[in-house]
Symmetry: C2
Subunit: 248 residues, 2 copies
DNA sequence: CGGAAAGTTGACGCGGGTCAAGGAATGTGG
DNA sequence: CCACATTCCTTGACCCGCGTCAACTTTCCG
């Protein structure tokens, strides 16, 4: 529990903000090397998390932001009557825990889908830091604002779009996010189950499954369980054309 | 356009953050009087806006947050093919424009529903201010974090809930927001049309209309166009029980 | 008074949820 | 290595909630 900062410990894995390949997706974006070294000092790095482990749960009093370095997370919350709503998925370079800043406890839970390494950034340290580094403050606002725009894009999707549009938009979002971290925009493995996709998009898992089948029949992609190859990117884009934000 | 700060102009309406009745809903919450006076200096106050006027439009390069003092706003964005998605409604004490911090231009538009007075807070001044007043920084984070939680609550609503649940949740949200600004939680006038409600909740306006009729038949409320009297608050609550956030 | 916008109400049909059965991949113990 | 369970995914049949279309009423505003 609560591994202390291990920046200078034995077997130092040479991980720091300034050499992290994700830095330009992450908070350090646009910061000088010196500033990054500063930021680096407040980051707690921990042993990798295993699938099924929680980063935090709704209601926890933890006081940190978490940046994902590798792997994938799922954010969700549960209603009193037990069922869960998936709020989103977090890929490397993205951040979770913003919703804990409100009253000091998280409003949602965050669980690991694939073995992940994660950087913990305590709010209070981050806040001090923001005073010293105006660039960091601005970048945080950007991340937050993006989060809001992204959620609002989802509102549009859930409120107005057909099941088909939703899945297309979801796939495009995954594609562009993989692309921006240097991976193929057309071939990737989804880290989440049909269950999670359906839940996230407000669809039954049967519908998701049928849609994957349809898309494949219409030459938009080939799918084998979680392995996806997008073969009709332009046509997918045409389907969701008009869906505001490009999502993250 | 762009009226300059009129804090000290003639007919000074004696409006300042420190005597604003909404201060505890707004950014100054928890700030000292001196700090409020500081904040007050950067607030630009303008002539009241009339219904139909825009505070800002998606794509505008404006660089400010806006706090509503009286009246009501609607936030929305439009898709390329012309139709609009209502993202939310802003009541006194609430803030719009957070989504402009990302890249300096707004992702959504904000239009006035009822004659409204609005305080403009330029980002850059606000940012300076945050350095001087840690309390303000924290309060801003709180406002932002609330916004995110609120959007996520909507995601749950749109993804999982029936039309009935959605309208009930909407009414409860309005009720509690009116309540927290000192008005009756059971009797109020909706500032928006059925069109807007339907759009916001992802429902056809006919459905909204029918639901209002049903609710009335079931003694949950009485409704006359935009005039609402909630007569079955507990039963309304029971309907949406399990819907995460209380919304704002 | 007239024309438009807002709201209501009824009839109808489809998108997608639900239920049910079965297949494919992965794990588990013998 | 194989039987067996479990989880994940797929596919088909049915049906209902809510969107769509249409007609009408009420309110608003010049």
């Amino acid at each position: 529990m609560h591994a202390r900062s291990r920046t200078l410990k034995i077997a130092d894995i040479k991980v720091s903000c300034s050499n992290c390949s994700l830095s330009e997706l992450c908070l350090p974006h646009g910061m000088s090397h010196d500033d990054m070294d500063e930021l680096d000092k407040i980051v707690k790095r921990q042993q990798p998390y295993q699938p099924g482990q929680h980063i935090f749960r709704a209601g926890d009093r933890g006081q940190s932001l978490f940046a994902v370095r590798s792997g994938a997370l799922k954010s969700y919350c549960t209603t009193e009557d037990g069922d869960e709503q998936v709020l989103g998925f977090t890929l490397p370079g993205e951040v979770v825990g913003l919703d804990g800043m409100n009253d000091g406890s998280y409003a949602s839970s965050s669980v690991v889908l694939e073995t992940s390494s994660v950087c913990e950034l305590p709010y209070d340290r981050l806040e001090e830091m923001c005073h010293l580094l105006p660039g960091l403050n601005r970048q945080m606002m950007r991340v937050i604002s993006k989060e809001i725009s992204s959620d609002q894009g989802m509102l549009l999707l859930l409120g107005k779009r057909t099941a088909e549009d939703r899945l297309a938009a979801f796939l495009l979002s995954m594609s562009s996010r993989y692309h921006s971290r240097g991976l193929s925009p057309t071939e990737f493995n989804l880290p989440m189950s049909r269950q999670d996709i359906g839940n996230y998009l407000g669809l039954a898992i049967e519908t998701v499954s049928r849609l994957f089948a349809n898309f494949q029949k219409n030459q938009l992609l080939t799918v084998n369980r979680r392995q996806i190859v997008l073969t009709g990117l332009p046509r997918l884009r045409a389907m969701v054309e008009g869906c505001a934000g490009s999502k993250r």
